[in-house]
Symmetry: C2
Subunit: 366 residues, 2 copies
């Protein structure tokens, strides 16, 4: 049977960049014997507009049934005044939660031809290649109680709850340790255990698991505030990092910005839906929906295309196709092609479609 | 009556750098007619060693009675295995809470002679001068319930609670708006309101206050993950920023590291103890206790000395003395003197005491 891929382009630049990824899928079907069944649906603001909810249960069901989800991005200022549980972001949060996608792998890799696009000095970031493993179904994103209550005097009180259990920490730490074995053998675990008990437990659980099963890996611990500094001061000290949902959100965005090429960075979120033993996976660019440039045809499609490459490798067992795409992207960059986000001052810029076209042309040559 | 200053050097490099600040105080007493009464006490690991608690009630009482507290830093790996409520960090957390020091002013200012010490390209950070106003007595640092519980199956669950009320948000936002009026007239408020209700309330309250009382100031809002990126991409877009306790912890450390001169940056934490209308204030370097270099006599005393300068201006009404110190520090830097943390490769380095001495010499000349 053909493998099933669900495409969820979402909001903002999502549809534009997804279109370029689909061109590549079509080419792989025509030329490389890729057999997949694509279906597409709307999420986020697009779904609010059409169905009055950020994501339909039907879409969740489709995502569960698929072999992999290729996601664009959600978030749309047009919906900023909707009630909290109807905001566009609920789409990605529900997908992560209901598919139990607990480990978000976020590489921050510097592409050498883009060195000049980084705000950091070349010597600080040259060759940077780190991987943040972020927990994505727990922590303050999902903890109860939560909400805004009105106090007797008419003022308000907003509450969220950070919760982590031993089991939640262990399973994501395992992903980090396993990854480290394939890389440099080093993991840095990040929390704020000097202030938060949930962070203290995080450190304890990671330490215990390391002692029991991963003593071949080098484990260090770092406080989140210090980590934010160290990422700027000397990011190459890190290889694999593992942290909770909220710290991971900030630190992975920070790390990816160090590379100067946010528009290039893919991510994978992996897990196992409760009650099954099948691996579920969602692939998405690290960048957001970028509403300021949406519809202009100038967004960089490479993060979406490289997310497809990750999907081919990790979910569809098509390592060769994955490599082919990565090589094509590399060559296109080396040839000097730049979308606006990665162009240096004075460099000429190509459109979203032109960049997609260039990758296709390169694939045909390889 | 003489004004009362409480010195709390704390752990790690705290005592070494405090010593240099005290030399300056002594000089101001001898030569500039400063009349203050100094007292000193121990906190953090030093207090644990002597009194078995991170801070004594007596010290809290002294701090309340003082006109200002000059603080070094706390945190000591020797005490990393004590129970959570006895860790050295409790000293600073209790001081903030019990003196109700709710607004932590953290400048990230680039000292031009130190441009080369930054990891960022000179064009990205030249002239950087932003101010983060961080809430410091609320949020997940203090919210209840909190703790680690053991589950029926023997595994554990760590919980912390993020709480913000209208009143807590308003008073710290007011500090930011007032500051902006003295600076560029711009405030950026940072939260994660697309995921956390407490962040949504934060945004609402800041927006309302702005509309009611500060419409002359330009207010923008930014999500915390995007803010971490923007601080790296283009930090000079910011002037005054205001955010909660946890985001402020990460973002202000990140911002200060952009300057390449963490060892130079002072901070002030201001508030009004409950039941009084007196202003309380604590001044401390932004950097931590740096246990790795403690006792070596190589720490940079300038953040501590500039914290003293802030105290002279904001708590002791000695603006002229404050300026004198700032000018002396500036001249010393311009003359090329460097402690290890701000020295470029190949530059020669002076000790903590030599740096203090140089500032004193410079003061004598001015
Ligand atoms: C869109 C938003 C809910 C999401 C998050 O905060 O997790 C995004 O910032 C991300 O990092 O994927
Ligand atoms: C020492 C620690 C408790 C403290 C904090 O997290 O607030 C420190 O990092 C700071 O920023 O002043």
């Amino acid at each position: 049977a053909k493998q099933k891929i669900l495409l969820l382009p979402g909001d903002g630049i999502g549809p534009e960049i997804m279109e370029q990824a689909v061109r590549i899928i079509d080419w792989l079907k025509a030329k490389r014997g890729l057999e997949v069944e694509l279906s597409e649906d709307v999420v986020g603001g697009a779904s609010l507009a059409k169905y009055d909810v950020p994501i339909r249960d039907e879409v969740i069901a489709k995502a569960k049934a698929a072999d992999a989800v290729l996601f664009g991005s959600v978030g749309d200022p047009a919906w900023k005044d909707v009630p909290f549980d109807r905001r566009p972001e609920v789409a990605i949060l529900r997908l992560r939660k209901e598919l139990n996608l607990y480990a978000n792998l976020r590489p921050a890799k510097l592409f050498d031809p883009l060195l000049s696009a980084s705000a950091l000095k070349p010597d600080v970031v040259r060759g940077l290649d780190l991987m943040i493993v972020r927990e994505t179904v727990g922590g303050v994103y999902f903890g109860e109680p939560r909400g805004i209550e009105t106090l007797p005097d008419g003022t308000k009180r907003g509450v969220n709850t950070e919760v982590y259990t031993t089991a939640e920490i262990e399973r994501v730490a395992r992903v980090a340790f396993d990854l480290a074995r394939l890389r440099s053998g080093r993991v840095c675990s990040v929390e704020k255990g000097n202030v938060m008990e949930s962070g203290l437990l995080w450190r304890e659980v990671v330490t215990d698991l390391h002692k029991r099963e991963y003593s071949d890996v080098t484990l260090t611990h770092m406080l989140a505030d210090n980590c934010a500094m160290q990422l700027v001061r000397d990011p190459r000290q890190f290889d694999v990092m593992v942290t909770g949902n909220l710290f991971g959100d900030l630190l992975s965005d920070l790390a990816s910005m160090l590379t100067g090429s946010l528009g290039m960075l893919p991510s994978a979120t992996l897990g196992t839906p409760e009650g099954t033993d099948k691996q579920a996976a969602l692939y998405e660019p690290i960048h957001g929906s970028a509403p300021d440039i949406a519809g202009k045809g100038i967004a960089n499609p490479l993060a979406q295309i490289l997310s497809l490459a990750m999907m081919l490798r990790y979910s569809l067992d098509r390592g060769a196709d994955s490599e082919l795409i990565e090589r094509a992207v590399s060559n296109v960059l080396a040839s000097g092609l730049r979308t606006a986000d990665i162009a240096a001052a004075g460099e000429s810029r190509v459109s979203t479609a032109e960049m997609g076209e260039a990758v296709l042309k390169e694939l045909q040559k390889l």
